[in-house]
Structures are given as C-alpha cells and as structure tokens.
C-alpha cells in the first residue's frame, strides 16, 4: 500500500542474539546507504560525564576519529595535558640500589611499612639542629642521622600511643622522664642518654605543630559530624549489617550442635582409651607382682621339695593367653591393608587374564589373512558330542512299520536348527527276536527269561560272531543312554573329548 521507505524499514530493534553476517563494503556494492537509518539501533551513551562530553578537546578528538573511520584520514589528535616530560638529573642520588630480578614471578607479602625502616624522616630543620648539636659534641659522642631519627620516632610513637588527642591540649606533652622509661629495646638502650639532648628539640617541634604529629598525616576520621572537608579521605566503611534469617540461624545452630556432638564423642573415645590403658598398666603391674609371687612360691616349694603339677599347667596356660592379647591398640584394617591382604587373588586373576589374552592374541595371529564372516557375534556352543547322535524318542508312538522314531538336533549355518529324524526298528525286540528265534524257537516269555539265559550259553565252541558295527547294533547302542544320561555325560565343549573317549571306551 505504502511505498514509504520509513514504513518498509520499520524494523525491530537489534538484538544481542541476532545472527549478523559480516561483509566487506566492497563485496556488496548494492548496499543502499540511504536506507540505513540508525534509528532502530539503540543509541548508546559514551559513558563520559554529561558536562564533560561537550568539552572542546574531547569533541575534536572524537570527530577526528570519526573522520578516520569514514575517510581514512589518519589524524592523530591528542587531548592536551599538562607537562610531564621533564626529568631530574640527580636520580642516582636517591635511587642507587641495584635490582636483580628473580627468575620466577615475585611473591611478596610484607607491607610497605616493613620495608621502610624507621618511619621518621628528618627534614631540613632537623638536619640544621643536628649539625649544630654535633658541633658542640665531642668526637665520640656525635649523634648520627639514623639514631637521631630513632629517637625522634620513639618520642613520637610513645606520645601518639599515650596522648592520641594531644592536639586538643598541647600542654599534655609527656615529659622526658616518662619517655625515657620506654627506651628499653636493646637497640634503644644505647641512645637512651643522648635522647635527653634531643628531647627539647622534639618538644619544640611538637609544640610548634600545635601538638600534632610532626610529619603531617592524612585525615581519616571525621572530627565533626557532617563536616565536608575535602582533605578527609579513606573513611572507614561501616560494615554492612549481616542479614539475619531464621533459616541461617537454624543452619548454624545445627552445625554447632553437630560439631559439639562430634567433639564430645571424640573426647569420650579418648577418655575410654586412656582408661583402658590405665587398666592395662594396672594389670601389667599385677601380673608382674603375680610373677614375682609365683617365683617366690616356687622357690619355697623347691626348698620344701613339693612337686605341683597344677602349677605348671597354669603357667603354660598363662603364657598362651598373654600371647593372644597384644599390648598395642589394634587399628582396624584400612583400605591399604585390605589391598595388601588380597594381593594374591588379583595376581591369580591377572595370570588367568593374561593367558586368555595371550590365547586371544594367538587366535588373532592365526586369523590373519582370513576374513571373519561371522555376522552373529553370539556363537552357540557346540552341543555335546553325545547329543550329536540320533536318539530315540522314548514315548513316541510306534510307527506302522514297527519302528521307533529317533531324531538328532544339529545346528546349521546361520544358527538354523535342524531336526533330523530316522526310524529305527525296535531295537530290543529286534535283538531279542533274533535270539528268541534262535534259542527259544520263537517263544518269548519276557525280558527276564532272555536275560537269564543270555550268558548261560553252553555252546562256547559254537562261536557266535557279532558284528559290532552293524547298523542294527549301532542303532541299538543309541538307545542305551537316556536323555539325562547324555546330559550328565557332557556339559561343555571342554568335556567333548572326555565324552568321546568315554564313548570310545564303551564301544
């Protein structure tokens, strides 16, 4: 409807999560600068104080930098600042200590005050006074600057401690006798006497300062409330009041209670230990006594010639007992001990593992050049050897042909299970028939009769040649073992050979 440019570009404000593509201006000549109204972009503040933002030099510098982004003109415009270019000539006079930097990063925790030596630094007036004083002194009683400063600092320090508000009443400057007593440190005792000569000078300086410390100090504390003194600085911050909540209280009470309980139990444990040790000590003393007494008794017995079996017996028992209870506190097994105790087992395991690994490695080596086509990683174990034979299904109905159905299970390719079946003629009857026909002339009176006479054959001369490998014989043998027998015969492939051997043996 409206082809108004403004309406078309009524865009949403730019957002921090908006994806922006970066272009070079040369790559997009079709960029329409005239459409780029900055109004949808929030104007940010410079962060400079509003009243200073308009300052001449800042504005000049900003426009110079704007110019360089738009036209590329490099105009280094600096805001003028007062001079800082002068250097002093006598630097070495003050700074002469050579600096050797450690190879590692510096760790430093002593305070500046620790590194400054005596905090009192004499000024020109002090120097003048000291010179005049030293002129009057004999050569060996001259006062050097270090000691002078130590004395002055001692006076200052003690005075500040004792009369912190001296400036309010400068009449309270301590007398030398008061200060003299504080020269107790070994480093000060030697200058105690000469301090007397310094005292008047110090007193004079302190008085001219109106009782204030000679070296001017920073003002920290407000003397008068609401006094806005620009020289007041570094006020102490009031500590923020801690927010007290019921929950915080409860938590800390709980913690304290727990702590108390733990401490108490630790205490009672120690108490008990100490009691035990006392008892043990007592018992040792008593044992010692008993031993001594017993020795005496034995001596007396020996002297009197009495032989006592019971006593010997008692003695032996005693010894064994003392061996049982150790005198030291038994520490419960910790993890380390436990590790040590079970050290043997893992070693075994490890040897088993390593043999398995060796086996696997060997396999791998053998398989080199072969491609593994097994797509089913879950390979079934070979069924026991015995089960690879045909077995008779005991309860299966007789076939018309008079044969039993027998079957065998085998595993084919890809895990397919085949059930092969075969009909076997009734083995026993077949066997019996054969014999019954031969021996009893077709009369059959049951298994017992047959078995009874089975080996009661008189006709040894008449060799009955039996072919063991005859089909019928084999089939018969298959039926001899029941399902459970077979199962118990072989349970794993490892027993494969054994069961085969067994079979072979039975054959």
């Amino acid at each position: 409807m409206k082809s108004n440019v403004g309406a078309r570009f009524r865009t949403r404000k730019i957002n921090n999560k908006q994806l922006l593509r970066v272009y070079k201006a040369v790559d997009i000549p079709d960029l329409d600068e005239s459409l780029n109204l900055q109004r949808s972009i929030p104007q940010t503040e410079t962060g400079v104080d509003k009243e200073e933002e308009t300052e001449h030099h800042l504005q000049a510098a900003i426009s110079a930098s704007n110019l360089s982004t738009t036209t590329g003109e490099a105009t280094a415009l600096y805001i003028p600042t007062p001079d800082a270019s002068r250097k002093i000539e006598n630097y070495r006079q003050f700074y002469s200590r050579p600096f050797t930097e450690p190879s590692t990063l510096i760790r430093f925790s002593s305070t500046v005050e620790d590194c400054m030596g005596c905090p009192y630094n004499m000024d020109d007036d002090d120097e003048k006074w000291l010179k005049e004083f030293n002129v009057k002194q004999s050569a060996d009683a001259k006062l050097d600057e270090d000691h002078f400063e130590m004395i002055m600092w001692q006076f200052e320090k003690i005075t500040n401690e004792r009369v912190p508000y001296l400036q309010l009443d400068s009449g309270q400057i301590p007398s030398f006798d008061d200060l003299r007593q504080t020269f107790t440190a070994p480093s000060l005792s030697s200058i105690k006497n000469i301090a007397a000569s310094v005292y008047p000078w110090w007193h004079e300086r302190r008085t001219t300062r109106g009782g204030k410390v000679i070296t001017p100090q920073l003002k920290f504390e407000e003397v008068m409330r609401n006094e806005s003194d620009p020289y007041l600085c570094f006020r102490r911050r009031e500590s923020k009041p801690m927010r007290k909540t019921r929950r915080a209280d409860m938590a800390s009470i709980e913690k304290l209670r727990k702590l108390r309980m733990e401490m108490e139990s630790a205490r009672s444990l120690l108490e008990m230990v100490s009691r035990r040790e006392k008892v043990r000590k007592e018992s040792l003393i008593l044992e010692h006594m008993i031993f001594n007494q017993r020795g005496k008794v034995r001596e007396i017995k020996r002297n009197l010639g009495i032989k006592d079996e019971e006593d010997d017996h008692h003695q032996k028992k005693k010894i064994r007992k003392s061996g049982e209870s150790s005198a030291t506190i038994r520490i419960p097994l910790n993890f380390k001990d436990r590790d040590a105790s079970s050290q043997d087992d893992p070693r075994k395991d490890r040897s088993a593992l390593s043999s398995i690994e060796a086996e696997l490695a060997k396999r791998k080596e053998e398989d080199i050049g072969w491609e593994d086509l097994t797509d089913n990683p879950n390979q079934q174990l070979l069924s026991p050897y015995a089960q690879q034979f045909y077995r008779v299904m005991p309860h299966a109905p007789l076939q018309r042909t008079g044969r039993f159905m027998s079957y065998r299970k085998r595993v084919g390719r890809g895990g397919r299970i085949h059930i092969d079946r075969q009909y076997v003629s009734r083995p026993r009857s077949h066997y019996r028939d054969h014999y019954q026909k031969e021996i009893f002339g077709g009369q059959f009176d049951g298994i017992n009769t047959f078995d009874k006479f089975r080996f009661d054959d008189d006709s040894f001369d008449q060799e009955d040649i039996v072919d063991d490998l005859r089909d019928g014989m084999i089939r018969y043998r298959c039926t001899l073992l029941s399902e459970t027998d077979l199962r118990s015969l072989s349970t794993s492939t490892r027993h494969h050979f054994i069961s085969m051997g067994h079979n072979g043996h039975s054959q």
Partner: protein, 502 residues
C-alpha cells in the same frame, strides 16, 4: 561589589579594573602557545604581593569548555580587563522568588544541567555520579562575594532542590542564593545535610568514581610532583595532607609511593626504603612489563598512597572511602633500578554492576606510549580468566573514553575481519563472549565504526574499506601486546564475611 548591586537580568559589564575581578566572574584570559584569549572563570584568588604592587594577586582560572586539568594560576597581566566581564548572577532571598524566580531560572545558563542532575540523583543509578552534581555546581552561578571563599557546595543544594522540586518551582538559583553572605537560613542547612547523606550513600553503594564536590577541591592543591626521575605537573586536587598544599614540589618515592615535602626527607627515606617493586605478587611478566596484584585490605599504606597519587590525575576518582574493597593491579616496567610504576587499574573485589575496572591510569610521563592499551587489554584478560564480561566503571574521563574506544574498535575489527573470511554469521553476544566486552560496549563500538547496516532485509555488519585499512595499519605497528600465556593468575574469591567487613 558591582556584581552584587548590578541589576538583573544583565550582569555583563564591558571593561573593569583588576579590583573588580571577583570569584566566579568570567572574562577573556590569555592561554596557550600561541597565546590567545579564551573565556575563563575565576575560581580562586591568591595574593602574591611584590615590591611594586603590594596588592598584586594571582587568579586561578577554569577555561570554558576545556577540561579542568588545564585550569591554572595566571598573572593579572593575562586577564583581558578591557573586554566583557560576566559577573555571577545575583542571588535573591526566597521572599523575592515568586515574581522573578522562574524567569531567571530559564535565563540562567545552568538550567539544563541541573535538571539533568536531578534526574540522575533521583535515578540513584550507579552510573550517575556525584561528579555530575559537582560539575553542575561549577556551571552554576558562583557566589558574588570575593571574600566568600568557602562557598558551600552548590551542587549539593541543587540536588536537594530537585528533590523538593514542587517547592523550588524549578529554580535552582534560590538555594545557592541563600549561601550569599554569612546569614545562612537553617532550611538550606538541613537540605544540604540531607543531600550529603544521599551523596555518601551513593559513594557507599557505588564504586570508586565519585567526585568530591567541595569548593576547595576545585582548585588543585599541588602543582608538581617528582616521582622517580620524572617531574610531572598535576592535574586535579588530591587530599594529600593540607600542610603540603601549594608546595612547589611534592617528592614521591617511586617504589612505595610515600610522599615528602622536601629533598632531605626523600633522601633519608630512600636511604632506608628497600622496596624495588610494588609490594604484591607478580602475576604477569613478559619482556620488561610486569603486573602486580595487591589487595587493598592487606596493603593499606601502599594503596592509599597509590590512590592519592592517581587522584592527582583522575578527576572523578573518589578517595572518600578506604581502599579495602578493591584489588589493585600495578603495571611496571623493569630496568636495573627496579620495577617502575607505569600505570595501574583498580577493580572491585565484588562488583554489583559487572565492572572489571574501577579506576585506570597511566602515569602522565608514560602516556601516549601504548601503556593505556596494555592496561585495558590486561583488564579484559583477567575477565576472560574469570569467564565474565566486563566494562569500566563510569563515568569515563575524556582520555579514558578515547583509549577504550580505540581498544574496542581495534579488537572487534580484528575479530570481524577474521570472521568475514569464514563467512559464518555471528551475534553480538558472540563478539562479547570472545572479547569479554559487554554487549553495550560492542554495540557502541559497532555504531562508532558505522558498521551496523540493514542489508537484504536483515541486519549485517559491514566493514568499510577505511576501517579495514586502519586495522591493517595498526596491526602492522610494532608495539607491546599482552600475552595471555604469561598471565599466571587465579581469580581470588572472597567470602561474604570477608567482603562484609570492608
């Protein structure tokens, strides 16, 4: 005084005598080389009698639209007494307010700033600093009486005026007027007190960059310091002991930053001082540049000295409260004498506003050598280790703004040029995460680069040829860089109890 009796609204007089120059008047003053006249306000007058002229005075002037650091003492000869002299506005007692108050309020030049101030005050945001009120005070009409050197902090009262704006009726002059002369109505006093409490509250809750609005602090108390081998002219007021105010030179030990009024004391101190590097742990070393980390709580003496020193060069720095809640990172340059203090930045142990820098300063003798850039880069390296975004505490100084802008622009352009080659899109958040700059600063920089464009129906970042060329040029420059691998640092975590007792 002519000012006091001059009729309003016009208080501009052409021509005058040296005796008619009073505090607060504005006139043309010779400045700079080549010397030219510039409008300046008289902030202070000090007698410098000579044999010829026992009444001779020097004048402390602030040049309009120049930074305060260029304020200076000038000889009377540099004042243009023939030109226009603008006197401070007449202050009216409250009873006269009804008729003329509004009129003067509108006519008065500082009307706008003060209303802005009031907004800031009510907002009580951390960004609005007392500094702005201080400045408003400066812009506000001064006190006419030359003798009234101890003028009250106009700024504070203006703050309070805006608090009860219904009463003041938008006029900001009336409160100031009450400070005229010695008869101060008690009402003003109360309001002053009220706003002072506000002020202190703001100092307590916000960081470190508030300005002392007191009148005395408008005139710098020191002129020159000697630190190490350098002699440096000072820029702003700093609360060194009042006994040392207006000394010709204050001597500062460059290692422990102790200050001394004379050469003798410095010599004696140097004889004993064993320090050769800042008293903290070195957390970075690359070539001759090292950084030391110092806990304000553990090194009070050093950190106080450091703050006093840096206050000489930072207008908006506050030294109202102690140094406990800050960590200080000192950058040093090593030579055979020790690790010399080059610059530093302080950082709140726990910043409620995600500031990663509170105050930042390169000593003037080392400025324009790329050290500021190093300090800024280092502060962002720390933020990267902390996995936080950071921004410097506001307000920035003019020099701070330029340094930060340059650093932001360079870092972001370098990143974007790389990104452009990959052709992968990115968000402002991505840029922020990769640089540790806060999103606002990223946006600010992109705007300054004029890089945010609307292209094919969506926003895009477009780097102009000149921007790319500038980046290439600056990347070719040989200069020191911060090597993140040389930083051996773990952020210190302070428990609530540790931070509580600050």
């Amino acid at each position: 005084m002519s000012a006091a009796s001059s009729p309003f609204p016009s208080n501009i007089v052409t021509g005058g005598t040296i005796g008619s120059i009073v505090l607060g008047c504005k006139l043309q003053v010779l400045h700079g080389t080549p010397a030219e006249y510039r409008k300046a306000e008289i902030l202070s007058i000090r007698p410098t009698p000579t044999a010829d002229d026992p009444t001779r005075c020097e004048y402390y002037v602030h040049y309009s639209d120049y930074n305060k650091r260029l304020d200076e003492w000038v000889a009377p000869e540099r004042l243009n007494l023939l030109g226009e002299i603008e006197y401070p506005k007449l202050k009216k007692p409250k009873s006269l307010l009804a008729g003329v108050g509004k009129e003067t309020g509108k006519a008065s030049e500082p009307g706008t700033p003060s209303s802005r101030v009031s907004k800031n005050n009510r907002k009580a945001s951390n960004l609005s600093k007392a500094a702005s009120t201080g400045k408003a005070g400066e812009a506000a009409p001064g006190t006419p009486g030359a003798a009234n050197n101890k003028r009250k902090a106009a700024a504070m009262e203006e703050g309070s005026a805006s608090q009860d704006k219904d009463k003041a009726g938008g006029d900001d002059d009336d409160e100031d007027g009450s400070t005229n002369g010695d008869a101060t109505p008690s009402g003003t006093q109360e309001e002053g007190t009220f706003s002072k409490e506000q002020e202190i509250e703001k100092l307590r809750t916000s960081g470190s960059m508030t300005q002392n609005p007191h009148e005395v602090s408008r005139v710098k108390n020191l002129n020159l310091i000697q630190i190490g081998k350098h002699e440096v002219e000072t820029w702003y007021f700093s609360p060194y002991p009042v006994e040392y105010a207006h000394l010709p030179i204050l001597y500062i030990c460059e290692f422990c930053l102790s200050f001394f009024p004379g050469v003798k004391q410095l010599t004696r101190h140097r004889h004993k001082c064993t320090l050769q590097h800042p008293p903290g742990n070195e957390i970075y070393r690359k070539d001759e540049i090292s950084f030391f980390e110092i806990d304000g709580r553990k090194q009070k003496g050093y950190c106080r000295n450091l703050c006093l020193l840096s206050k000489l060069f930072l207008d908006h720095k506050s030294v109202y409260y102690d140094v406990d809640p800050f960590l200080f990172y000192i950058m040093t340059m090593r030579d055979e004498d020790g690790a010399h203090f080059v610059g530093y930045f302080s950082k709140e142990k726990e910043s409620a506003d995600q500031f990663n820098v509170a105050c930042i300063l390169t000593m003037p003798q080392f400025q324009r050598m790329g050290f500021g850039r190093l300090l800024i880069a280092f502060s962002y390296e720390l933020s990267k280790v902390e996995k936080r975004l950071g921004s410097p505490e506001k307000p920035l100084s003019d020099l701070g703004l330029l340094s930060y802008r340059a650093f932001w622009a360079e870092t972001i352009v370098t990143l974007l040029v790389e990104q452009q080659k990959t052709g992968i899109e990115l968000t402002i958040d991505d840029i922020a995460q990769r640089t540790a700059f806060q999103q606002m600063d990223v946006l600010h920089t992109l705007q300054n680069l004029n890089a945010l464009k609307y292209y094919h129906g969506q926003y895009a970042i477009v780097l102009s040829d000149t921007v790319i060329k500038n980046a290439e040029r600056s990347s070719k420059k040989k200069r020191r860089e911060i090597d993140p691998k040389a930083l051996v640092w773990k952020p210190i975590h302070f428990t609530a109890t540790q931070l509580r007792f600050l």
